[in-house]
């Protein structure tokens, strides 16, 4: 960032342009009647660069005082009021609270300073105002010089910093415990036969005497006089400096100072303006003398800069946020592309599968339904031929039994009974039971069969009508034979067999009729009916 420093003394105005921490341009004006016009022409090229005005003037006054230690707002009011009372004729005034007294009420120590003659600043400020140059501040070089002590590690109890200003003046600034207490500017105007070294020595001695008269020193105190000199002047000055018990001189070699502070190139003379500018660039200070009104263009410049930065930040934030959104959107887009690829792959596979499906000229659902119906209703549907074969295998072991009739049906209801028309007896039987079946044939629901739902054929139900040949009147053996036959049939897998009509019903609920003649035949045919149920389990 470019800055423009104006270092004003009573006879010179030095313009220094800086870029970053380097002084990149310098121009010096003699303080004459035409200097303001020259400065105006000079400033026109830097109207937008903020100006820092450092003053090193003889008209700068310093006063010390204490104020009661109160709150910051009250203290500001007190200090402002005192400042106005002390320097009522100038707007260029400044106060610094330096610390607190160690004794008594422990009041606050305050340094008041002001440029007592505002006219020395007026022509320059008029140029600045006219050109609307942003004035960042007006600084007291003396007050600011405390920074130099800190940066150069001049940490003494009593320090007198001696610097030289452009235009031939010597600034003596006294610091006690690094707090500025006094400063004076003396023209370098040696008398005849008086060297610069002698002049400096006499002036510093005079200053010591003055400070001592103000009781700044105790008996054992020593004033460290630090004189900043270019090497060229050092050889002239140093021999003339005499140290005493109360005064100790230290030469601050300009090149060493510049090296320590990083000031390149080092100043070519003993004047301190470039050192002060460099120190300011290192440790910017707050404005000392300039009022807000004078600084308004700088205020507006800062506001303008802040607004532009804010605008840039907003755009950058928007771009960053938008970029983040877009990056996520692009991620989504890439994901979409992957998904689209997956969809395409799935569709291709689907098409391949669809093309490869066996169709037989019908849809898959038709095929599936057809097979489902076949598996459920037809494939395992029982067949009477299978039933007859099984039954025959059992009957072969009973030659005394003759099969007369089978009424068979496939059904889902194990309790249903097929229709059976009773056969006439083959031979006359001397003893028989009279039941309702003798008067009415066993009838199923033949008519309803056609309208009934087509069964899955889980069960086969059959009425098996047969006769058993036994010796006449051996009913007990006939009963045993039929019971045994039913038992053998029931051993077939999933099969049950019950005697529905016995060769002779001996239950008490029916009547028995006996008719014997003189002679009975040797054998008799006894009719019986078995009900056989075969479960195919879970439906075919």
């Amino acid at each position: 960032m470019a800055r423009h420093f104006l270092y004003l003394t009573n006879s010179r105005l030095v313009s220094m342009m800086t870029q970053g921490r380097r002084i990149v341009g310098r121009r010096e004006f003699a303080v004459t009647a035409s200097a303001a016009a020259e400065l105006e022409r000079h400033l026109q090229g830097y109207a937008d660069v903020p100006v820092h005005l450092l003053t090193d003037l003889a008209e700068e006054d310093f006063r010390l005082d204490t104020v009661p230690h109160v709150g910051s707002r009250d203290r500001e009011a007190i200090v402002a009021r005192k400042l106005a009372q002390m320097f009522r004729n100038t707007p260029f005034r400044h106060a610094e609270v330096q610390g607190r007294e160690s004794e008594g009420r422990r009041d606050d120590r305050v340094l008041y300073t002001a440029i007592t003659n505002p006219e020395v600043l007026r022509p320059w400020l008029e140029v600045i105002e006219k050109l609307r140059v942003p004035l960042a501040g007006i600084y007291s070089a003396a007050v600011f010089s405390s920074v130099m002590l800190e940066e150069l590690d001049l940490l003494f109890a009593h320090t007198l910093l001696v610097t030289f200003t452009p235009g031939g003046a010597m600034r003596q600034t006294y610091f006690r415990d690094r707090e500025i207490k006094f400063s004076r500017l003396t023209p370098i105007d040696p008398e005849e036969g008086q060297s610069l070294g002698t002049l400096i020595s006499e002036e510093t001695t005079r200053t010591w005497q003055y400070l001592d008269s103000l009781r700044h020193f105790a008996e054992d105190d020593r004033l460290e006089v630090c004189v900043m000199l270019h090497a060229r002047d050092r050889v002239i000055v140093q021999p003339a400096l005499r140290d005493f018990a109360q005064i100790q001189h230290r030469i601050l070699d300009m090149e060493q100072v510049a090296a320590k502070l990083g000031l390149r190139p080092a100043p070519l003379s003993s004047t301190a303006e470039e050192v002060f500018v460099h120190l300011y660039l290192m440790r910017p200070a707050a404005n000392h003398f300039a009022s807000p009104e004078i600084r308004r263009f700088e205020t507006l410049r800062r506001a303008r800069s802040a607004l532009r930065r804010a605008a840039a930040v907003l755009v950058a934030a928007g771009v960053a946020w938008g970029g983040w959104n877009m990056s996520r959107a692009f991620e989504t887009t890439e994901q979409d592309q992957r998904v689209a690829q997956q969809i395409s792959t799935a569709n291709q596979e689907y098409d391949q599968i669809t093309r490869a499906l066996p169709s037989f000229g019908v849809g898959g659902s038709t095929m599936r339904d057809s097979v489902s119906f076949y598996n459920a209703a037809i494939r395992g549907f029982p067949r009477i031929t299978d039933f007859a074969v099984l039954l025959s295998q059992v009957l072969e072991r009973h030659p005394e039994v003759r099969l007369d009739q089978i009424a068979w049906q496939a059904t889902d209801d194990p309790k249903s009974t097929p229709a059976l028309t009773r056969s006439p007896p083959a031979t006359d039987v001397p003893v028989k039971a009279i039941t309702a079946a003798d008067t009415a044939p066993t009838r199923g629901a033949e008519a309803a069969a056609a309208a009934a739902p087509f069964s899955n054929g889980r069960y086969e139900v059959a009425l098996v009508e047969a006769t058993v040949r036994e010796p006449t009147n051996d009913f007990r053996d006939a009963l045993e034979t039929v019971t045994r036959l039913a038992g053998e049939i029931a051993t077939l897998p999933g099969t049950t067999a019950d005697v529905v009509e016995s060769p002779l019903d001996v239950s008490s609920s029916v009547a028995i009729q006996g008719r014997h003649g003189r002679s009975d035949p040797a054998t008799m045919q006894l009719r019986f009916v078995l009900r056989v149920t075969r479960d195919h389990g879970g439906g075919a």
């Binding site: 308004r296 599968i353 599936r368 067949r383 007369d404 496939a410 097929p418 054929g457």
Partner: protein, 205 residues
Amino acid sequence: MNQVFSPEGWKSLRASWLLLVGAALAGSAIVYGSHWYGIKEKRDSASSERLLHEARARLDNARRERDSLNESADVFRTLVERGLLQREQRLDLVELVNALRTRHQLASLDYDIAPQRTLPLAGGRVFPSIDVLASRVTIKARALHEGDLLGFIADLTQSRQGFYPVDRCTMRRIEGDPDDLRPHVEAACTLEWITLKDKHANRPG
């Protein structure tokens, strides 16, 4: 700060304020636009995910159907070959019955074929793609030996043309001299002649 908001300040900083407002609008527009684009992409992505889900579901169904149909293909081929999906060929049945009668030397054979109807299934089951049709066939036959009758029934039910599940059958011995050359056994059976109709096929019933 008062100088910034003074008339002179407003005048001096007007361009900067406008720049700030413009930057805020531009930043907001960028953010909103990118956000809108992101939302749109997300919506499209959700749509794509849904499409992918549907495509995968369709593919899984196709795979299952393929596996199912591959398992069913052989069975279905048999069904097609036996004419299950064809219309009734009643003349074929008549010829088949007559042929079997001759083969098994039946003494007499009476049969009735009822009009075709939609066959009611157990449990009221229906199939979405096929109609199950059936004609009820009643057969009465006489033979010298029950083996002839059973053979006739077995051949009819195991015919390579059509499905004829016999659901009721009564076989009875006819009394008489076993040595007489006349029928000794008679049978009365009912069966369903079943055919299927593809509901999707635009063919007359």
